[in-house]
Amino acid sequence: MINIIGRNRFLIIRRSVQLLIILAFVASSRWGWSVLKGNLSSAKVLDSFYLADPFAVLQMFFSGFVASSDLIIGALIVLLFYALVGGRAFCSWVCPLNVVTETAAWLRRKLGLDTTTDNIRIKRNIRYYVLILSLLLSFVLAYAAFEVVSPIGMLQRGLIFGFGMGWAVALSVFLFDLVVLKNGWCGHFCPLGAFYSLAGKLALVEIKHNVDNCTDCMNCFRVCPEPQILKNVTKKTSLIDSGECTNCGRCIDLCEDDALKFVLKNLKNNKNEN
């Protein structure tokens, strides 16, 4: 029992954080609590200041609307936070769609679909083009282009305010990830994930691999949603410092040999460490 919890430590904490954030929003909308009001696009915290989705505000800007100062400051706070802790911490610790795609990935492993049907090949860097495209389209269409099609938006608004047909979109993402492409949405297309990958390039919280403890079991490769970033694992002691790391800690959970851990990047010494 202890072992099961220990081996899912970060998973359990992450799911709790994801759930608590959505619950705080629901509590505000149903019972008027004021911890977090609004939703993931923009939220008022403790009735005192705002947070905002920096990517949405950026699209707004490209569409030709200068957001209010509340939103700009809110977006900068969020951006700064993720720039420090690793941008894609949003993905694995906050984004509700992450629960959907990780469940699809898990089921895929369980059903053995990873090996049999994964025959289409799509480059993972396509998401950066989707990111550029969302900004270009926001400019051309004169409204935030990703926000109107975003499955993340539909899911989170659905959870907080009621779904309509919004659940169908989440289901499509789930099925796409399950039967079409491994880590299909988050690993290949999501422009928000791409945005946070760039934002978190220089983050201070990172995962460190210690090759001396590594037994080449490949557990981390099997479970990491972005396995390409583990290129040095089993080869040399190093920081996993790609912006694409979601800081989900699943590799740490599953590593039985204590070869991976979270570290705070020490700005001065990190040369020696690498």
Partner: protein
């Protein structure tokens, strides 16, 4: 030899770039098409003090704060089946109208400026009656008051009763001894709150809220009301040039030949 290699690698790079650009174009066109389909229908009724539709969909960050703030649960964020810009707030007056809260909590909670408190502020005071969410339009065929049956449900429901809706008394020619009491909307004063649509007793409402831009026509600046001194001043200030010079017009009238085809 080296040059040839350079050339072909350059060509390869060019090809990849072209292919990338092509794919982005393709994706962009498809995405734009889908997004536009999911965009606002022009018939959407927005919360009070909303910016003009095109500006509104840019400005609204889809946070739902207005929805939460409304004590009557009037507003909702559009889901994919609502056929309007996904995630933006709207309301359906027949289901739940806007009760014109004097303190406009929805507008106050909006962080983005998509609901602009300036639009309902007059001399530094909030005046929710300045809202322009839409305008009420009566269907005179199905409104039973126009048949001569007594009903003033919309009139009585209107928070600006006597201003936004008035009753007009007409002779009932059918019976010869009754009045027809017609509800008439004043488009300048109507807020589009929809209390009338909500109250209307016909099976499908005979008074409905339409967005101002849809409901209102426009005469064009070349029509000037000569009986309105202020409007008549526009003759002198108008920037529009007449398409016909004064003397050519005169010549034309004095020259009957020009009326016949050669």
């Amino acid at each position: 030899m080296k040059k040839v290699q350079e050339d072909s690698s350059r060509r390869a790079a060019l090809k990849t770039m072209l292919r990338g650009a092509g794919l982005m174009g393709l994706g962009g066109a498809a995405w734009g098409g889908v997004a536009d389909g999911l965009q606002a229908s022009e018939l959407t009724i927005r919360p009070p003090a909303a910016l003009k539709e095109a500006e509104f969909v840019k400005a609204c960050i889809r946070c739902g704060s207005c929805v939460e703030a409304c004590p009557y649960d009037t507003l909702a964020l559009a889901t994919p089946d609502d056929r309007t810009a996904i995630g933006t707030p709207y309301f359906k007056p027949r289901t739940t109208p806007c009760y014109l809260c004097t303190d406009a909590p929805c507008v106050k909670e909006c962080p983005s400026g998509a609901l602009d408190i300036g639009k309902i502020t007059e001399n530094d005071l909030l005046n929710i009656n300045k809202s322009k969410m839409g305008v009420a339009v009566v269907d005179q065929n199905s409104c039973i008051a126009f048949w001569g049956i007594q009903c003033d449900a919309c009139y009585r429901a209107c928070p600006l009763l006597g201003e936004a809706i008035n009753l007009k008394f007409e002779r009932n020619d059918r019976t010869g001894k009754h009045a027809i009491i017609e509800p008439v909307v004043n488009r300048e004063l109507c807020t589009g709150c929809g209390l009338c649509e909500h109250a209307c007793i016909t099976e499908k409402p005979s008074i409905v809220i339409l967005p101002v831009d849809i409901a209102n026509g426009k005469a064009g600046s070349h029509y000037i009301k000569s009986w309105d001194k202020n409007d008549e001043k526009r003759i002198n200030t108008t920037k529009e040039k007449s398409a016909v010079e004064a003397n050519t017009a005169e010549d034309y009238l004095n020259d009957p030949e020009s009326l016949f085809d050669d």
